[in-house]
């Protein structure tokens, strides 16, 4: 309990400190007194930079990080596989493909990107989830990786090799995207917290759940739709950002234990923090240009995944 509580205190403090730092840092450095003066209305130029460029980006990174981390944690519960994550299973790349194709052939409509990404994600899950992949963890990952590559290649085919996801990202994100992300993200994260007990229930076998009267298929489907909703929303706003959904929940388990009612809120906070750190570093390392959060996450995530598998942290189906 004490370890859990200190983990929560530390991650909250880290999030606040990092958010303030992210507002201070950039092509132009603003000190705390400068920010304070700007807030009081004495430095309109500073205020304008912060409000137009930095604040929307900080908010977007935090909410997207929280959404991706919880989507990862829930996928791991549903697939009973600690490597399951929408970004490596092809869910988000299917979303990108559908967004691209929909943009090409359909007239514009409200929430077009979000809905197309959602549809793509659902298609990917429909292709992915079957009796065999649910029973055999390695098969799930291999099929997922193959799907992911296929969707990515199709996207490239239709764009004649131009990488569309690099055109998204947090750079130049507008308040309107941020608002939409905040609203959909808030709804999704509340749903995550409400449905957390289901993630715990899925630790039992389907037979056992059926014998206590739980509609296990509906439960699993509900959680999968939530996963697709969360990851599709982020994909629609900023493109695919890989590995957050694997790294964060697995580290969260180390700090707060195995109960999804604590793993999920902790993953939200740590996901928010990690993506904010990564995006802020990306803004700074190659000034005046920048590295996308997706690129940095891929660099960090690959090795992490390898360590996780090699160290035996890869629990697919674990018998008692």
């Amino acid at each position: 309990m004490a370890k859990e509580r200190s983990a929560y205190v530390i991650i909250c403090l880290a999030l606040i400190v990092t958010a303030i730092l992210a507002l201070m840092l950039g092509t132009q450095f603003y000190s705390l007194p400068q920010l304070w003066q700007a807030l009081l209305g004495n430095r309109p130029a500073v205020l304008s930079t912060v409000l137009t460029f930095r604040l929307p980006r900080v908010l977007a990174a935090m909410i997207a990080g929280g959404m991706l981390a919880s989507a990862g944690a829930i996928s791991q519960a549903v697939f009973r596989n600690r490597l399951a994550d929408p970004t490596i299973l092809g869910v988000t790349s299917a979303g990108e493909l559908f967004m691209l194709l929909g943009g090409m052939v359909l007239p514009a409509f409200i929430f077009q990107k979000q809905l197309l990404a959602l549809l793509g994600g659902l298609v990917a899950f429909a292709l992915l989830a079957n009796r065999k992949t649910l029973r055999q963890p390695y098969q799930l990952i291999i099929v997922g990786v193959a799907l992911n590559l296929t969707f990515m290649a199709l996207t490239q085919l239709f764009t004649k090799g131009i990488n569309v996801s690099s055109s998204l990202g947090f750079n130049g994100i507008t308040w309107s995207s941020v608002y939409s992300l905040l609203i959909t993200g808030f709804v999704g994260l509340v749903a995550v917290l409400l449905m957390a007990p289901w993630a715990n229930d899925l630790k039992l076998s389907d037979e056992q759940l059926a014998s206590v009267g739980v509609p296990v298929t509906d439960m699993r489907l509900g959680l999968l739709v939530l996963v697709v909703y969360l990851s599709a929303d982020v994909t629609a706003a900023v493109g695919t950002i890989p590995f957050i959904g694997i790294i964060v929940p697995n580290i969260a388990r180390y700090f707060v234990g195995h109960d999804y009612q604590t793993i999920l809120p902790f993953s939200m906070l740590s996901g928010a923090w990690l993506l904010l750190v990564v995006d802020t570093i990306g803004r700074l390392v190659v000034l005046p240009s920048e590295l996308s959060a997706a690129t940095i996450m891929a660099v960090l995530g690959g090795p992490f995944l390898i360590i996780l598998v090699q160290r035996g942290g890869f629990h697919g189906i674990k018998a008692r």
Binding site: M195, N200, K203, Q208, G213, R320
Partner: protein, 253 residues
């Protein structure tokens, strides 16, 4: 609980249960015995309503069991299997809490206090915060029993509950089941491999062969060398052991 002319076959594998008619004696311990593949576990699933008969009907309190929702059924019928699987770490109390799911909304959080009495019954309160996998096989089986009891069932089903337990734990579990049957008026329905264990603990037995009821009766009525030899297709002898009573042995070397 009653079976009326129940037939059942898995698609493609022929008839598993044939014209089965029998009624479960309320408030007693009933054991189903027979060879491997005789249809014991299938019969258990039919009785629990987790399989539906291809013809005939299984009735609970005078109504077909198929008309009950899975939640309502779970509040009447609980199951302890021979082996349970969990896919991630769970503490003892977390496992037992799942037994309370039939009584709550699916999104509810269940308190420790609610499951404490069931852990007391199986004498595992002190282990409630421990990971399930840190417990011995016998203790784990008691956790699953507590989970079943948390459903507050009228009927407790056990599918070969002693298979993976050593004889000491087998004895303790059987004693506990008898105690529950007496104190909580539970109707207990078990599939048991060990004939002697079944004869010792049961009030009633169903001897089945190839999906058909050979004989239903008390242990005394089933202690018949010819009957058992035919049902198990083995030469069987019943010997009298001092301070124990009749004991079934098979005569093949």
């Amino acid at each position: 609980m009653e079976l009326k002319h129940v037939n059942y076959g898995y698609p493609g594998s022929g008839q598993l249960i044939t014209d089965f008619t029998a009624s479960v004696p309320t408030g007693q311990i009933l054991s189903i015995i027979g060879q491997n593949g005789a249809g014991k576990s299938t019969l258990l699933k039919l009785l629990m309503g987790s399989l539906s008969p291809s013809s005939g009907v299984v009735e609970l309190d005078g109504k077909p069991i198929s008309t009950l929702s899975s939640r309502k059924r779970a509040a009447k019928i609980a199951l302890v299997s021979q082996q349970h699987q969990i896919y991630d770490e769970m503490t003892v109390k977390e496992v037992v809490k799942t037994g309370r799911l039939p009584f709550h909304s699916l999104l509810a959080t269940i308190t420790d206090a609610e499951v404490r009495p069931f852990l007391e019954t199986v004498n595992l309160v002190q282990a409630m915060d421990r990971p399930l996998t840190s417990l011995s096989g016998g203790q784990q089986q008691r956790v699953w029993l507590a989970t079943a009891l948390a459903q507050e069932p009228a009927y407790l089903f056990l599918d070969e509950p002693t298979t993976y337990l050593d004889i000491r734990y087998q004895h303790d579990l059987m004693a506990l089941i008898r105690k529950l049957n007496v104190t909580q008026h539970l109707t207990v329905i078990m599939v048991l491999h060990d004939i002697n264990q079944a004869l010792k603990i049961s009030d009633q037995l169903w001897l089945i062969k190839q999906g058909q009821l050979v004989k239903a009766g008390t242990p005394a009525e089933l202690l018949d060398e010819q009957l058992l030899s035919q049902a198990f297709e083995l030469p069987i002898k019943i010997v009298e052991i001092e301070k124990y009573g009749p004991y079934v042995i098979q005569l093949t070397a």
